[in-house]
Assembly symmetry: C2
Homo-oligomer: 765 residues x 2
């Protein structure tokens, strides 16, 4: 292979670093108005009269919209449960819930108009935490939710609906008989853990420009899921798909935040009223009030033999889903499915719940429930080892699934060598030489921790389509529905096409995404681009190649088997033609294009209980060395080793960058990030108050190892690997902190205050 495995220049590199890349927020259409949204100041309230008359009368205001003039066929939307409204109708359910919107000649005028809207609220009692929400007779966030009864998906396990409660969704997963397993165990240990709610924090908040004349709705949107957005908008406005066009310019980061409709519905309503295009751009503080990672509360109970062999595990996972379901049910299912970890455990029972509260809605977030449960099971395993007086490395090696072993009945077997990975990171971090509670109290102490985690990757039952065109000059263009959200997918796809067509990479380009033109796709998520869409891309390129070879054979009066493609040339014995010459001779004066099509879907297997096996296993192994300042409680990561498996690296540089990026996400959640509420008000939801990892927080020694186990469903054995790196960070760091200071903290983030309090406890003992 000549292109695969090389670091070709990023296709969007020059455009982006020179500032020329076009983002949705960059668009300026003639007559375009600017929108702002009025949000609920209360966490839970019935909405009375909405008086927009003063706002509408403000000069410069071109449209005001509320539930009273929405004019939609359906005001309910949601990927899994249709519990959300374009604008609030009867109730607001969290501080930030959207009530009304204004479009004006500029943002300042729109902002001014918002102040003139009078909304009558009747405040209701609210619930913020999982405990509050599940208390008997707790106020209900949603009283009546027809849609909840039929979540239109359902992979594996079982989903159970609880009427008249704040439980949005309940997933159960089991194998064996867990009670029997506990009885057969020598010891049973149970621990509880909690994990914070984080913000996705993409550089670019939610933004769109909508143009809607009542007949045709065109939206330029920063979305990860343009086709589902089309579907929702078509339903909301009762339009045919052909009359809804979603164009996706470059997207400034997604991480799960940009799935489903966010700004699009409101902008469309305003545009129709105003008779002009409307731009709705949330600012960073509004992004904090739009979507977040679900906060988790977890309990794990494990039965083990004396030698550390796992026998049974029961998990309870509660995710705080906030006010609206969003992708929460799916996250809940995935968190539950993954909660027992990559270990050989005969008996498993997991219950996973998504719980409605009067806080910011939670949904898809890089890792998709994986980081929460990995923190729980990888801290828990260290605690078990400690209780059995075993080494954390040894107990993992004893129980880890081998390549080919089953994670869950009927699912794809583990597709890489976890033990080899664990060995490698343990060596790299110096596991063997670590000391317990090193250094004298009061000074800085060092510690080492490791963690091993997996998540099922590639999404469930995800179809992928691609088109590869060869133009009349012999150059090629790829079109797929995967969104370039910064992950570098277009460059990887370009390499696949160039490889299959034996064409110099610079002759291959990737088309922009437009639902009118791009073949159908379900959204860019679950590390599916390279691995799942990549297959469709490869097949489309092969289809184009086949047609091109047939054309070349006809042109050269040769048989296809005698023709070889080599670096943009068609070689047949002594004859050598450029691709352009073949195309031109083939199509002659009509000119023409070859269109190759590719479709891929990871094979469904109706004979297994899960129905849709996981396309691959995305792995994340991490080893951290930390230094804890016992005076201040500050944790500094000195060394971090991340390891994942790419199956086959299409573009090694990008693979390493993905893994580094994922690890930095994990680092933030391990040490800093958490959305803090007081009385339902989010108090740190701003660029100033929300603490993210900075460059000086990065470990001095930061290594990413990437295995190429070849076990992926993607082209040349590739697997998705952009989320794995996040999984192991929090437990590896927490385990290292325990190693350093000798006390166990079962919650992240490990902010100095928390760590310092634990140190004080030890000192005071």
């Amino acid at each position: 292979m000549t292109v695969i495995g090389t670091n070709v220049p990023r296709i969007d590199g020059v455009e982006k670093v020179s500032g020329q890349g076009l983002y949705a927020g960059d668009l300026r259409l003639p007559g375009m108005a600017y929108a702002k949204v009025l949000r609920s100041p209360l966490p839970h309230a019935r909405v009375g009269r909405i008086d927009v008359s003063k706002a509408a009368a403000l000069p410069g205001v071109v449209a005001v919209v509320s539930r009273d003039n929405l004019n939609v066929a359906s005001n309910a939307f949601g990927a899994y449960v249709r519990d959300q409204q374009v604008l609030a109708t009867d109730k607001v359910r969290y501080v930030g819930d959207m009530v009304a919107a204004v479009a004006a000649v500029d943002e300042a005028r729109a902002e001014e108009a918002l102040q003139l809207i009078d909304v009558e609220y009747e405040e209701l009692p609210a619930v913020y935490t999982i405990d509050e929400a599940l208390r008997e007779n707790a106020p209900l966030v949603h009283e009546n939710l027809a849609g909840r009864k039929d979540p239109h998906y359902g992979r594996g396990g079982a989903h159970i609906v609880h009427d008249r409660s704040n439980i949005c969704f309940h997933f159960r997963h089991q194998r064996g008989a867990v009670d029997q397993g506990f009885r057969a165990s020598d010891f049973v240990f149970e621990d509880t853990f909690s994990f914070p709610s984080a913000q996705h924090y993409p550089m670019e908040p939610h933004v769109c420009v909508a143009q809607f004349d009542g007949e045709v709705l065109q939206v330029w949107s920063a979305t990860q899921s343009p086709f589902p957005v089309r579907q929702e908008l078509a339903r909301v406005f009762d339009l045919p798909f052909s009359a809804v066009r979603i164009t996706v310019p470059y997207v400034g980061g997604g991480y799960g935040a940009k799935s489903g409709i966010k700004t699009e519905g409101i902008a469309a309503c305003l545009s129709r009223i105003a008779g002009r295009p409307v731009r709705l751009a949330f600012n960073a503080e509004e992004a904090f009030k739009t979507i977040c990672q679900p906060r988790a509360k977890m309990a794990i109970k494990t039965g083990v033999k004396k030698d550390g062999t796992f026998v049974a595990r029961q998990c309870q996972v509660y995710l705080n889903g906030g006010a609206y379901a969003n992708s929460g049910p799916s996250v809940t299912e995935k968190a539950g499915y993954r909660a027992h970890g990559p270990y050989r455990i005969p008996h498993v029972l997991t219950d996973s719940y998504s719980v409605y509260t009067n806080t910011v809605p939670a949904g898809a977030f890089r890792g998709f429930g994986g980081p929460q449960v990995a923190f729980a099971y990888e801290t828990h395993i260290d605690m078990i080892a400690q209780r059995l007086d075993m080494d954390g490395y040894e107990i993992r090696m004893k129980n880890l699934l081998e390549r080919g072993e089953s994670f869950a009945e009927g699912d794809t077997p583990i597709d890489c060598d976890l033990k080899a990975g664990l060995k490698r990171i343990a060596e790299a971090v110096g596991w063997q030489s670590k000391e317990q509670n090193n250094g004298p109290a009061g000074s800085k102490r060092k510690g080492i921790g490791i963690a091993t985690a997996v998540k099922d990757g590639g999404g469930t039952n995800k179809p992928a389509n691609a088109v590869v065109k060869i133009f009349n000059d012999g150059s090629a263009l790829l079109s797929t529905g995967s969104v370039e959200i910064g992950q570098g997918m277009r460059t990887a796809f370009l390499q696949v096409v160039a490889e299959e067509l034996a064409m110099p990479p610079e002759r291959v380009r990737v088309a922009a995404l437009d639902t009118h033109y791009t073949p159908f796709d379900k959204g860019t998520n679950a590390s599916s681009a390279t691995s799942i869409m990549g297959q469709a891309v490869q097949k489309a390129a092969q289809d184009a190649r086949g047609q091109f070879l047939a054309a070349a054979a006809a042109v050269l009066h040769a048989s296809i088997s005698d023709i070889r493609l080599d670096n943009g040339m068609v070689v047949c014995g002594e004859q050598k033609l450029s691709f352009a010459e073949v195309m031109q001779r083939h199509f002659r004066d009509t000119e023409g294009e070859i269109w190759g099509r590719g479709f891929f879907k990871f094979p469904r297997d109706d004979n297994v209980p899960l129905g849709c096996p996981s396309p691959f296993w995305e792995i994340g192994l991490g080893a951290a060395e930390v230094e804890v300042d016992c005076e201040t409680g500050q944790v500094k990561i000195l060394r971090y080793v991340s390891l994942t498996d790419a199956g086959k690296m299409i573009h090694p540089l990008q693979c390493h960058a993905q893994d580094e990026g994922a690890a930095v996400f994990g680092l933030g959640q391990a040490l800093f990030e958490d959305l803090i509420y007081q009385g339902g008000q989010l108090v740190n939801g701003s660029l100033v108050d929300y603490r993210l990892p900075r460059f000086d927080d990065l470990p001095e020694s930061f290594t990413t190892f990437i295995m190429e186990g070849g076990g992926g469903p993607g082209p040349y054995g590739a697997k998705g690997m952009g989320e794995g790196g996040i999984l192991a960070v929090a437990p590896a760091v927490a385990n290292a902190v325990h190693n350093a200071i000798g006390t166990r903290i079962q919650a992240v983030p490990l902010i100095p205050e928390v760590v310092w309090k634990e140190i004080i406890k030890i000192k005071s003992v």
Copy 2:
């Protein structure tokens, strides 16, 4: 048929009348700079030193470009002869030739910077008229034109290249032996005619926005020929087609002006230098200096029998092509090919020349050489009738080609009933009751004139591709490379798709044009959209229909023959499903789209001399009643009857609007329009000075008859008909003026000054 032949609402109607339709000039990209072009003040000069240093130093200027820093692989372009430069290199060849360009933060700053560019010119002797250009030892507009020797096309007749002359192109067409024909005639009459150079005058002048980072060139352009523009830009900048993306928003009129590159090359150069997108919008005065209709000088010599039967005709057509060939060679060929008119003439010899002069380049213009020669042969026939003391109607009826007769050897036979058309317009205008030289001298006089003309329509050897998608909700989207330039083509195509898919028209939409996505096309011209592309559209819809029926059959467990599509429903016996239900059941959880493809090319016939027969005959018959004010010479058209043949009207309202629009073009050329030069300076090239028809110039009685002869190659027998209406206006009006005042004017426009001088001559006799 339920949709074809009805006046469905225009698909772009609401968008355009509400001002929301997006045109290229509406686009605002982040950091976009505005360009202006420095043009030659001299008609012919050698370009010496170009000093841009002062301009480049002006604050706010972000790029200055001239031949010295163009940085192109090829600075020569042209559809037929590569005689034009992105910016002038060694010579300027007309007043307005482009020498340098500036991009700045706004247009005013760019304009200011232009004044600071110093260009040294060494003036050369110039030629402006055909006579001057053909004089012996005339100054050569192009001294050395390698490209001219190999015009890369050539349908029929012969093209002859004259080296070291100002003849750009020479086309000869003959049948029989014209000398022998003249000898066999009873009379031989010869007359000369001239026809003005007009401006296309689209509402929207040439405009584009280009973004070029050196690797990928994206252009939003108001062009009629996006794929040829892509090809030219790829060649100029040495880029693969896949790295050149042309997007065509709505276009505010074309009429031939918007073929080939105009603003795109300069904007791309400036964008690359500035590192940001650049908008180059010509103003109306610059449009006058960009492209025009070729001025014509014609001689026709006809041999007739005493009874008026035509025996032989020799034509000489000289077109003033201006400084660059543009589409001139093709116009020249077409003018020559059509010059003998739709008559049965055994012996024909035509020589047609395109001549370089130091005036604005001339090229494609609605009618494409047809109006010029139709004026000549339809005035000439009246003059012959007068000399033979025959009726103008009778002599036409005697010689007109019947349906099925041959216009030229090997070409498609005449495909409609010209005589029936002539009969109809003669009756409508009251031909039988007309008087000769009615009314007393000095007062207002009325007259009636008729004319009959044809042009070969649909273009030569034009391939057409279309894609029709059926989305998962059962709605449909069409994609074709035909440009909506206001002619209503998208609505007609929508009807074809709706008809073939038995779907309500509002479920069908037409995609925007983008060379990355839209299937290949050669440009929107020659009245080819409905007739040629329409066939590809129909085939694509039928392909989609076939796939959809197969899916429905599988879903319904029925055979395709038992299934009927009816108004968006799939009917099979008692069963009735919506399109959406069929799609959803067929694709199940993968969702999906049906892609239907269609290709059409009017069959080539290598056995006939012309190689590529004309797809159809576009006809234009006109009858005018005029009133001439003998005091002022002003001609007023009281009544105008236009007749054409649509084969089958897809959208009757649009057909009539097309024919009315074409007739108004003809009216302008008959009475007002002419580009006037003094010493090489165009003196009336502005919105104020150039006289166009106004609403109060329209005839009080204005009728368009449209025959449906069914003879077209398009869907349901449709033919193109947007140019026919222009052909007969000038001769019908001139013949009417002769009928009114008894004197013959062999040139248009019939401006009051010219007519008054003729009246004075009669009076003074």
